[in-house]
Symmetry: C2
Subunit: 405 residues, 2 copies
């Protein structure tokens, strides 16, 4: 029941091709802005989306197209979110139509996504002109597709794994874009997963819906929640395993492999939060309930004061206690133990709600690492949760103070 | 029923003296750190406090002391919040004891507050050594007290008004400190109000509790909520009006004057948020309920992306719509009208959920003002609310990245 990382991103599973080109939505010609992922055969498909009531038009269209549980392609542009536009639905449908025109895959088997600025009209012309080039570019090109869906991301976010189900080698691959607006109920703007596992649409949706609760939903970059967050998975069955149609042992292997991918992407997204210099992981244990553990972990990760302190490598643990205190959960301040931890060592800072002495020099060393853990024990029960975030930096402000221009 | 601004801060009402000195809690000798406000006679007293479960020891002690509805003095230090310390209650009580020693005012008639770093022990010695000097410094010195309660505030926040009740001239005065950790359920760390109005403790508490819902509770600087937020009022009755003991016409005059002071301070606090360069006011109308109006206004004001856009004078109105969409309220995106407004003019950016054309140059001009209004019409009903916040700047990160050192 082991999961191994492999190369190839969304093209690692059998029967998937991907590509990405610059079609002209962005002015910068060196930045790809148009991506396509295609399966050789129609695939089981599932999705989870933003809970923001202001939804991007592509989210609405994708939900419709996945209503029957099947899809075969994913089309995506960056540079414009196609949201809050009166012609948004029309444009999103037109993007699916372009895929049908070049590939023969029916428009309603196409997942569509857009990311970028909100409230500016998305012109179909550059995509209509570029779709042939994009289709021709399809191949083992997961990285091109990854680049084409990026906005202010500074690194590509991709993972692929292989695992065995019933003697058959199976694979999951994924690409993601994160950055800004990451939180609270959906992780990042866009995550596309592919797999060659054979699984029913219903079980695929169950697996994805349950997984995101402890992966993408536990990330926060800035507390905002995008209008366009979309996480979709296609599973085309070409691995040849016996179809997974219930929560059996095969399902559990698939879920484990899926979770490996989603947690890895979650950390990559958090660490690459706009302007971030480090990954912050908040581990909460000793909670009365999973709800309590998650709420506390998320509140700590979201606190601007905690995030700014992490940027400054300042062991201002009072801010962590303060955040726990306003989490809305009925914690007992006088039971809280708190440690900061990194590869440089473990720093106990608070026991039973009160400060313990520590070396400021050692604290600075621990907190200067590029991955810092905030370990909280509420000492009230046995449930736990993990959330991921990043520090708050000058560059976050710089990036977001002038995003559109 | 008119309210006029006057000078004098907390010393404007009859019978109040104030003072502030440097006693040595802070290393910087030019920064006052110890404040005292005293009424000639015992006064009706009321308070509202942080709802954070991690509470500063002074909050616990002050609540006890106000349980009988009366108090006569306010003692406060800055530089250390006396929170998460095992001897916190003892120290807070000792501070009240110092006031009793020099003034004869009973310790349990003293309101105590502390602000500054959390989790470091507060040494009583500098205060014990300085209390005589502080008591001797009492006079018409509201500004000294104001300075002594400041932390990273860049301006003193003070207001005083006079008004007529039953032919008698009455006054309310106030000083406040804001900055950082301002939100969501209590406004700022510390607000001290004085009045010479004659009013029962019960009516004073009712007036204060109802007032903060549309004043200090509608401010957000960074979404964090302090452990030490305290807003207290003393009303000593020396104006000689007929005692206010029910919600009569006199009460309504008092409430109006109180609200004038609290809204003025709320705006001052929001505008002086850590690193802020401008005041953001979000006016929401057309809501189905007051709850909806407040939730939408607060969510917009708290959005890091909106705040960063305001800093950059970037008319990225999609972020406002996005924030409205995740407010948790059942709004209809396709009914939202949105305008940005300042002294430079009014800029309609969205009608019925879709963008309208506007000049980027004019937008930059409107948003470059030092006070910007985000005016939202939900077009669902008749209720409204106002919330105040500030932009998110490089300096916020700088201040909070290295607060303790």
């Amino acid at each position: 029941m082991s999961v191994y990382e492999i190369k190839g991103g969304v093209c690692a599973p059998i029967g998937f091709k991907a590509g990405g080109i610059h079609c002209g939505i962005r002015k910068n010609k060196t930045k790809k802005d148009f991506a396509l992922i295609v399966s050789e055969v129609k695939a089981s498909a599932a999705g989870v989306y933003t809970s923001n009531l202001v939804k991007g038009a592509p989210v609405v269209v994708t939900k419709e197209h996945l209503a029957d549980g099947y899809a075969q392609a994913i089309i995506c542009n960056s540079g414009n979110a196609n949201t809050c536009n009166s012609d948004g639905i029309e444009i999103a449908n037109a993007m699916c139509g372009l895929v049908e025109r070049v590939s023969g895959i029916k428009a309603n088997d196409v997942i569509v996504a857009s990311t970028g600025v909100i409230g500016q009209k998305l012109n179909i012309s550059p995509m209509a002109a570029g779709i042939d080039e994009l289709y021709a570019a399809l191949g083992d090109n997961s990285e091109d597709a990854n680049e084409a869906i990026m906005t202010t991301d500074t690194v590509k976010k991709s993972v692929a794994v292989q695992f065995i189900i019933g003697g058959k080698v199976c694979r999951i691959g994924a690409i993601a874009k994160g950055i800004g607006m990451v939180c609270p109920n959906m992780a990042t703007n866009l995550i596309f997963l592919t797999s060659d596992v054979s699984i029913t649409p219903a079980m695929l949706q169950t697996a994805l819906s349950e997984d995101v609760k402890s992966s993408f939903n536990m990330i926060s970059v800035d507390g905002d929640q995008s209008t366009n967050d979309t996480c979709c998975i296609l599973a085309n069955g070409l691995a040849g395993n016996t179809v997974i149609d219930c929560k059996n042992a095969d399902y559990r292997i698939f879920v484990k492999a899926l979770h490996y991918c989603t947690v890895k992407l979650s950390k990559m997204i958090a660490k690459d939060g706009e302007g971030a210099t480090k990954l912050i992981e908040c581990n909460v244990r000793g909670a009365k309930s999973e709800k309590m553990a998650k709420a506390v972990a998320k509140t700590v990760i979201k606190s601007s004061l905690v995030k700014a302190a992490m940027f400054g490598a300042d062991a201002n643990w009072g801010r962590v206690l303060c955040a726990i205190g306003y989490s809305g959960e009925n914690i007992d301040p006088l039971k809280i133990d708190l440690d900061f931890k990194s590869k440089k060592g473990n720093l106990p800072v608070c026991r039973q709600g009160y400060g313990v002495d520590f070396s400021e020099d050692f604290a600075k060393e621990v907190l200067s690492a590029d991955e810092v853990k905030i370990n909280v024990n509420l000492n009230l029960g046995s449930r736990s949760a993990v959330a991921w975030g990043c520090d708050l930096t000058y560059d976050y402000v710089k990036i977001n103070g002038d995003y559109r221009t």
